[in-house]
């Protein structure tokens, strides 16, 4: 195994690979027009893996809103639903209330940490395989290829004048794109409203202006982003390429052109001696299949989304010219430096940064699971009246008023036995009732019930003007307990 230092030494000994000179532009324009990318179809292990991920992602996306989950009467039976009007987020057995939004925050942090970990290990695999922009662009390209043909045919069609054939093909392509975009936008809205109802009312015109607006908006954005903008989204609009670049290190296993093996590149001549040249025959197959239109042989660059299709393309060519596969491969920078000088550097997955990410994911995951397990189905907050702070009654007793807000997360009404602690001789009552040691309050199902409660206590010169008082609530059915501290105020004596 070669360390970085030994690689550096070996590198110094060996001749550095010649740096390819580039064509210099005469002057830089302020704005550049789009150079349209026409990716060529390719087959291989990465293409098949990418297709499998694509089918899986789309299947999950379109199917999930249709899964039913019975929660009892009066509540939605959709398994995954962000119910804005009802102020709930449903996820199978979970029901998140607005004040529990930190669960979503935790989930997003977990997702971010997962992305950090995946990126530091394998580069931009998120961008290359699972990002919605990638998935839908791939889907739209598939449609485009089926209708207009592969790369060459599409380039010809682009240049061709508008005739019957071109109009037909283009009309068909854009129609299919729009249908997919509509389904995409529609499916997205199904995460926010009942899916079967939406599917029925959408086409009868009863779905309401908000639904039509958002379906229209997401249809338009899907059509524009996946059909037209494509790699421009990754290059100009998305912040991830910049952030992910800083997550990579020399151990990250990324899509790599093995320069030491490929150079010097030149077109293949009959019966050429492989010892005198690199394996790259400069066929540009890797460039032709690239969905962002870059040349991977220039090394790691911001536009590369790590989709690995150039590996498949190059392997096809290597097979044909009977050279070893994987001239373009998945490897780390350190390993490449080692190979260039005839050493080997096995992958190092356990590194300080991956350890930090894994530990952070484990900690946060445990924290989330713990919080979910200890999640209470009830809660109470108490607000003491500030006007008046206290009231003196005819018999000299002191009365304080409180507003109890009782949270009931269950889908059934509950009765709570309410008592107080901390003030001697304190009795409590609700409006219209007689003071007693305990009070029964009803909490409406699935909501917060506000109840006005008065506490009466005899005057006591020993008691401070502001004394601690605690309300204790016990669910009459389940015995689940809760409480909230507040104060009892008396006139300063």
């Amino acid at each position: 195994m070669a360390t970085t230092a030994t690689i550096a030494r070996a590198e110094a000994d060996a001749d550095a690979a010649p740096v390819r000179s580039r064509i210099e532009q005469k002057s830089d324009p302020l704005y550049v027009g789009r150079v349209k990318v026409h990716p060529k179809a390719v087959d291989g292990k990465w293409r098949r893996f990418k297709t499998a991920v694509l089918v899986l992602c789309l299947a999950v996306y379109y199917a999930v809103p249709w899964i039913r989950w019975d929660r009892g009467p009066g509540v939605p039976d959709q398994a995954v639903l962000a119910d804005f009007s009802g102020q709930r987020f449903y996820f199978f057995w979970l029901e998140i209330w607005p004040q529990e939004i930190y669960y979503i925050t935790g989930l997003l942090i977990l997702a971010a940490l997962g992305l950090f970990l995946a990126t530091s290990l394998f580069g931009r695999v998120w961008c290359g395989f699972t990002c919605p922009q990638t998935v839908w662009t791939d889907l739209f390209m598939f449609v485009e290829r089926r209708i207009e043909g592969d790369r060459g045919a599409r380039i010809r069609l682009d240049k061709q004048p508008w005739n019957r054939d071109k109009i037909q093909k283009r009309a068909l392509k854009h129609s299919v794109w729009l249908v997919i975009a509509l389904l995409t936008g529609g499916a997205w809205i199904m995460y926010f409203t009942d899916a079967p109802t939406l599917a029925r009312t959408f086409f009868t015109g009863e779905a309401g202006p908000v639904v039509y607006f958002f379906v229209g908006l997401f249809t338009l954005t899907t059509y524009l982003l996946a059909g037209h903008a494509r790699e421009q989204v990754c290059t100009y609009m998305c912040p991830w390429p910049r952030i992910q670049a800083s997550l990579l290190d020399e151990e990250s296993r990324i899509v790599t052109y093995q320069t030491w093996r490929g150079e010097p590149r030149k077109p293949l001549k009959r019966n050429e001696d492989w010892d005198q040249r690199g394996d790259c025959i400069d066929c540009k197959a890797c460039v032709a299949v690239c969905p962002t239109g870059i040349d991977i042989r220039d090394g790691l660059q911001m536009e590369c989304i790590g989709c690995s299709l150039c590996i498949d393309a190059c392997n096809e060519v290597m097979d044909r010219i009977h050279r070893p596969r994987e001239l373009i491969t998945v490897d780390s920078e350190r390993s490449q430096r080692a190979r260039a000088v005839g050493l080997s550097a096995p992958p190092r997955y356990v590194r300080p940064r991956t350890i930090v990410y894994v530990v952070a994911i484990a900690l946060l995951g445990a924290l989330m699971l713990g919080a979910l397990a200890l999640r209470s189905n009830q809660g109470v907050t108490v607000q003491n009246d500030r006007n008046p702070l206290f009231v003196r009654l005819s018999n000299g007793d002191i009365r304080n008023g409180y507003t109890l807000k009782i949270l009931n997360k269950l889908n059934e009404p509950r009765r709570f036995d309410v008592t107080t602690e901390g003030i001697e001789g304190a009795r409590l009552f609700a409006q219209g009732g007689a003071p007693a040691d305990r009070l029964t309050l009803e909490a409406a199902p699935n909501g917060v019930t506000a109840a006005k409660v008065y506490v009466v206590a005899p005057p006591d010169p020993e008691r401070p003007a502001t004394a601690d008082l605690t309300f204790r609530l016990t669910d009459e059915a389940s015995g689940e307990e809760g409480g909230h501290g507040t104060v009892f105020r008396s006139p300063a004596s």
Binding site: R22, E24, Q25, S394, Q431
Partner: protein
Amino acid sequence: MSTRPEKDTVTGKSTTGQEWDGIKELDTPLPKWWLYVFYVTIAISAVWYVLFPAIPYGTGHTNGLLGTTTRGELAEHIAEAQSAREAQLTEIAATDLPDLQNRPDLLAFAVQGGEAIFSDNCAGCHALGGAGQHGYPTLADDDWLWGGTYPEIYQTIWHGVRNADEDSRNSEMPGFGDILSKEEVAAAATYVQSLNEGMDAAEKASPEGARVFAENCTACHGEKGDGDQTIGAPRLNDQIWLYGGDFASIRNQIHGPHHGVMPAWGPRLGDVGVKMAAAYVYNLGGGKQEAPTQ
């Protein structure tokens, strides 16, 4: 640090001519569509200038073709809020006040509206939350001058106390300074101050006071000092004192009584307004379910 723009050897592009600790920034050109989006926003702003109030001049500003004004929007919002409240207000008008107590949703609406009315109109004297102050009764306690049932509260708010309204609550306690001797007034004050400990204790504190009280005060305040809500005669055997519970305050009140005055709110608040204010006051903690029998 500024350097001269130069060609970057790796990408072949120009740099911006700025350098930070050896790091140089590429002068990458923007995509054209980005520029077009910028033009579109400028076009939208031009449309905005035509449609909405935008350009100020000396004494005013252009109004825009749509004629939108923030005052107009406010008026619309108020009208919307009014029409949204209409159903409940009609319902409250049609509901008897005691029945209101059995309709939680409508009651909550009435109490909320009543709180706003109370804070605007009543809190000046009775203080926020009906806390009261010296000379202005506390409305949150369990003691009432003119009665704490719904009809009584409604009557008091609508017609007020000791004012020009012909149905106004009205009563007057004579100034006993002109009727009794100084010593008799003081004795009565001593007696009244001890009444909340019972009649016997009060008589013990001042036998002379007991005599004076029996001869002069019981007609209105009752034999035991229970008061009479039909004529607004305050209860004297409790711990609540409108004008102070110390000896001097009670003596002064017997000598030359203060009389509280309250305007008639009916003409200003209207039936529904008075009802909501009554619902609020009733639910401050002291509302009485039945009319007192005394």
